[in-house]
């Protein structure tokens, strides 16, 4: 029976065979455990989507009754917004695109954070019943104090960790499912504060939404307090404290989030997190009400624009143009095409340039069209 099972499975190497043979003996999905009370794992990847996918995978697939899990990860530059937040409201999307900084939406609640390799992420996985954020944060503080006793760090009621009673060095968010839960938090070691403050400032005006707003805070790097600290040291200290508290070996298992045999279904999760529908489409309904100041032939045109955006798509679109500035047929064509279209600069650019093909070939008209459309696209 086992031979037939092995034959049927798509095994890549003997090593994987051995992994799965262990797994067969313990059918519950906990590959790496030795029936101890806890497990510490660290991601070898710096890709924010892959790491978020690992969180999803552990949340959905692992049995946390017998052992809890601590997941350590770091990302290359990325902005991570909370589950119910509005990216247009939270960050400077144009700057993100220019600087090639990734945008991700996580499944937990809370506010927007900037990640880079100078920021450490910790995720505490437990069963739903054992979900306890304060304990986790106290563990982190204890680890920091053990590493550098002179650090003035403490946990607030809002689940932030403050340095010197004023600077935020850690933010928290959590996700609760039916049987399992996780609490993750950041920890600023040596992040680029300049980039952080510039990308987390949205230039958007006239946005009305019920999305969860972020609470801006004064931040500081632990590195500024003590230049001898590195991200690796912080990770190690926290792992050590976790090991002590859970009475397990201080051993960190490295995992590769791209390993489909170890984490079946992980690539689907990674892909889903990168889709436009998830990152932008999950934005709660919002409305945009602004005025475009267009410079046209030595005069400034004030054009009021009102749009309602739901699921990231334009539901209602109103553009207040001077009469006959654009031929009425063309104007209604523009509004009709924008309605139902994604609130996305790329989509809108291709849409309006394609529409231009069926317009009368008039230079004046083309200039006006391009001017209007470019201003609209700049909103997105």
């Amino acid at each position: 029976m086992r031979c037939a099972v092995f034959k049927n499975m798509v095994l890549q190497s003997l090593k994987n065979c051995l992994w799965l043979s262990c797994v067969l003996r313990t059918p519950k999905a906990c590959f790496w455990s030795t029936a101890s009370g806890g497990l510490i794992i660290q991601s070898v990847s710096n890709d924010v989507y892959q790491n978020l996918a690992v969180e999803d995978w552990i949340h959905d697939h692992m049995d946390l009754e017998k052992q809890q899990v601590l997941f350590l990860w770091r990302n290359s530059p990325a902005v991570v917004i909370g589950r119910h937040q509005n990216p247009w409201q939270e960050c400077n999307l144009r700057l993100l695109r220019q600087k090639n900084i990734k945008l991700a939406r996580r499944r937990s609640g809370g506010g927007t954070v900037y990640h880079d390799l100078g920021n450490v992420n910790l995720t505490f996985f437990t069963t739903r019943k054992k979900y306890e954020r304060m304990e986790n944060l106290k563990l982190v503080v204890k680890a920091l104090k053990a590493l550098r006793p002179q650090l003035d760090v403490h946990v607030t009621d809002r689940y932030d960790i403050l340095l010197d009673r004023q600077y935020k060095i850690s933010g928290t968010a959590a996700k609760l499912g039916r049987t399992s839960a996780y609490h993750h938090c950041t920890l600023l070691c040596n992040a680029d504060k300049f980039v952080l403050s510039s990308v987390l400032k949205s230039p958007f005006k006239g946005l009305k939404s019920n999305a969860t707003p972020s609470v801006p805070a004064l931040v500081k790097n632990l590195f500024e307090e003590d230049p001898s600290l590195t991200s690796e040291m912080l990770l190690d200290a926290i792992a050590k404290e976790y090991a002590v508290q859970h009475q397990i070996d201080h051993h960190i298992t490295l995992i590769n989030p791209a390993d489909e045999t170890l984490l079946p279904g992980i690539s689907d999760k990674t892909n889903e997190l990168q889709t436009w529908e998830w990152v932008y489409g999950k934005t709660p309904k919002f409305s945009v009400s602004t005025c475009l100041n267009m410079v046209y032939k030595d005069s400034i045109l004030d054009v009021k624009v009102n749009m309602d955006v739901k699921h990231g798509r334009i539901e209602v679109c109103n553009i207040d143009l001077p009469e006959q500035w654009l031929p009425p047929g063309l104007y209604s064509e523009l509004v009709k095409s924008l309605t139902g279209s994604k609130f996305c600069p790329n989509e809108t650019t291709t849409l309006v340039t394609t529409l231009l093909r069926v317009c009368p070939q008039d230079d004046e008209l083309h200039t006006r069209w391009s001017l209007l459309c470019e201003n609209i696209i700049r909103l997105m």
Binding site: M1, V5, F6, N8, M9, V10, L24, P27, K28, A29, D60, G82, H84, R97, S108, G109, G110, R128, K129, E132, R133, Y159, T172, A173, A174, L176, R178, T179, N210, E260, P264, G265, D268, P284, K285, E333, K336, S337, G340, S341, K342, P345, N346, E347, T348, T349, T350, L351, T353, T354, L355, L356, R357, V358, Q361, H366, S370, C373, E374, I377
Partner: protein, 493 residues
């Protein structure tokens, strides 16, 4: 039991309906044979089917249960409702996600405790919901009784037992309807599963463990997980024959149930614009002209020039040569770089050769153009193409890159194909589709066979202002430049 008898008699008439329905939905011949078990085992039916059958036979057994928001933990008493995954009238099963609520940086997925039909949502998006107060009203089957706080159903206040007994070979097995459904979907006999719940009750985890042992795969706890690597999907189907294989080594053929549904989506945004453009394009009377180009010399030339371009930081493909040759051709045949107005009254000969290059992106076909090719060198064109390609793949092309084109080349050969029938992009009047470059045997002037690098080109042009002869001559000129690249030097401006 009286109620069971009543149900039985009303169901008997619909009994056949019941079983046929069962066959369609769970693809098991076993259930045709156990027709009477089906009828007795009414709660083994998926609730929604049962609902429909009961309605047709005018017996309604639904009972509205208020599903209260359970404790979130950490002393939280209120949350904000952020997203509904279901709406009124939807059928849900136990453990399906109902909604997403948020409380103080924690996002919580609320799952259903019952199988049933959603009758009422007590909150709208962004409302504050209270722990312990009703969240949704679910209509469930009366014979199942009212479920208590735990996931496994306890003794109800009604006269029926909430656990129905599967009487197969005289072996009674306790399991909730959700667990039974999971077992049926995977063709598992409950009698073969070891129950680890109270009174040897079979829990969902037991079914999953049983399955894991059978297929050797690790399955997620939720039966609705769409994520499954290909080998596991293949496993799930032969799970039944494998199971049977232990007793009867004959694969069971059963009707393959295809649960797929048509999906209708509105045509929006860019697609809508394409519909308009292509409809306008069809109004243009197209004619086609195709030819074969021997690129042997060009291939060699490119090999020599590639390292030079790389030193300058530019990737050199064949396109810059094709584009420049087209521009040289357009100088001789400017009508191909023209535009016909709407009423076909005037032809405008465009001064600039803004040659568009069709690009395949995630969204679909976009055509950025290289401006003023007539004054660009092959290297300039290569630089510009690199820029457009990187912007295109990042989804950051600007409006000026995508407008103003006068002539288009579509290198479909990078994907595949030889001959094509390209559609002219208005307001242009001509377009060329380039097939892939293949190594083919050809005869040279001495009559010897040699290995030639052959590419096919298919032109389409607007027959209202362009005639076949013009197109042919342009094509021949373009071809001659490419077959003998040195001749381009003579005409370079």
């Amino acid at each position: 039991m009286a109620a069971v008898t009543a149900l039985r008699s009303s169901c008997r008439a619909a009994g056949r309906l019941v079983c046929i329905h069962r066959v369609r939905s769970c693809s098991s011949i076993r259930f045709i044979k156990s027709k009477y078990v089906c009828v007795f085992d009414k709660s083994a039916l998926k609730f929604s089917h049962q609902q429909r059958l009961f309605r047709t036979s005018a017996v309604s057994c639904g009972q509205i249960v208020q599903f209260k928001l359970s404790d979130i933990g950490e002393g939280i008493t209120e949350v904000t409702v952020k997203e509904w995954y279901i709406k009124e009238g939807d059928t849900v099963s136990q453990f399906d996600s109902i909604c997403e609520v948020q409380s103080d940086k924690a996002s919580v997925t609320i799952t259903s405790r019952y199988d049933g039909v959603i009758r009422k949502l007590h909150y709208s998006i962004d409302d504050i919901a209270f722990v312990g107060k009703p969240l949704v009203d679910i209509e469930i089957d009366a014979s199942k009784g009212v479920a208590s706080e735990e996931d496994v159903v306890e003794t109800p206040p009604m006269s029926h037992e909430e656990h129905t007994h599967q009487e197969i070979k005289g072996h009674k097995t306790l399991a909730t309807p959700a667990v039974r459904r999971l077992a049926m979907e995977n063709n598992i006999k409950l009698s073969e599963v070891v129950g680890t719940g109270k009174d040897n009750r079979i829990l969902k985890e037991d079914i999953l463990n049983y399955l894991a042992k059978q297929t050797g795969a690790i399955l997620p706890p939720s039966p609705k997980a769409e994520i499954a690597p290909p080998q596991r999907k293949a496993e799930a189907v032969p799970a039944a024959p494998k199971d049977k294989a232990r007793k009867i080594p004959v694969p069971v053929s059963r009707p393959i149930a295809f649960a797929g549904k048509d999906k209708t989506e509105p045509v929006t945004g860019f697609q809508k614009a394409m519909v308009k453009t292509m409809s306008a394009a069809l109004k243009i009377p197209h004619f086609g002209y195709s030819d074969e180009i021997d690129l042997t010399q060009l291939v060699q030339l490119r090999e020599e020039l590639k390292p030079l371009a790389e030193i300058r930081g530019v990737k050199l493909s064949f396109m810059p040569f094709f584009i420049k040759a087209a521009s040289l051709g357009l100088l001789q045949y400017p009508i191909l770089n023209a535009s016909l107005d709407e009423n076909c009254q005037n032809v405008t000969y465009k001064a600039s050769h803004n040659i568009g290059v069709a690009m395949d992106t995630e969204q679909g076909l976009i055509v950025p153009n290289v401006k003023n090719v007539q004054v660009c060198s092959v290297f300039d064109i290569a630089v510009e193409l690199n820029r457009l390609q990187s912007l295109g793949s990042a989804g950051q092309l600007g409006t000026s890159d995508l407008t103003g084109g006068t002539f288009t080349l579509s290198n479909i050969g990078t994907i595949g194909g030889t001959y094509a029938k390209p559609v002219i992009l208005p307001p242009e009047v001509a377009i060329g589709a380039l097939g892939k470059i293949q190594a083919l045997p050809r005869f040279n002037s001495k009559g010897e066979v040699f290995k030639a690098q052959i590419m096919n080109v298919s032109w389409s042009a607007d027959h209202r202002i362009i005639d076949g002869a013009t197109m042919a001559r342009f094509s021949n000129l373009w071809k001659s430049y490419l077959e003998n690249p040195a001749s381009m030097l003579l005409d370079l401006k």
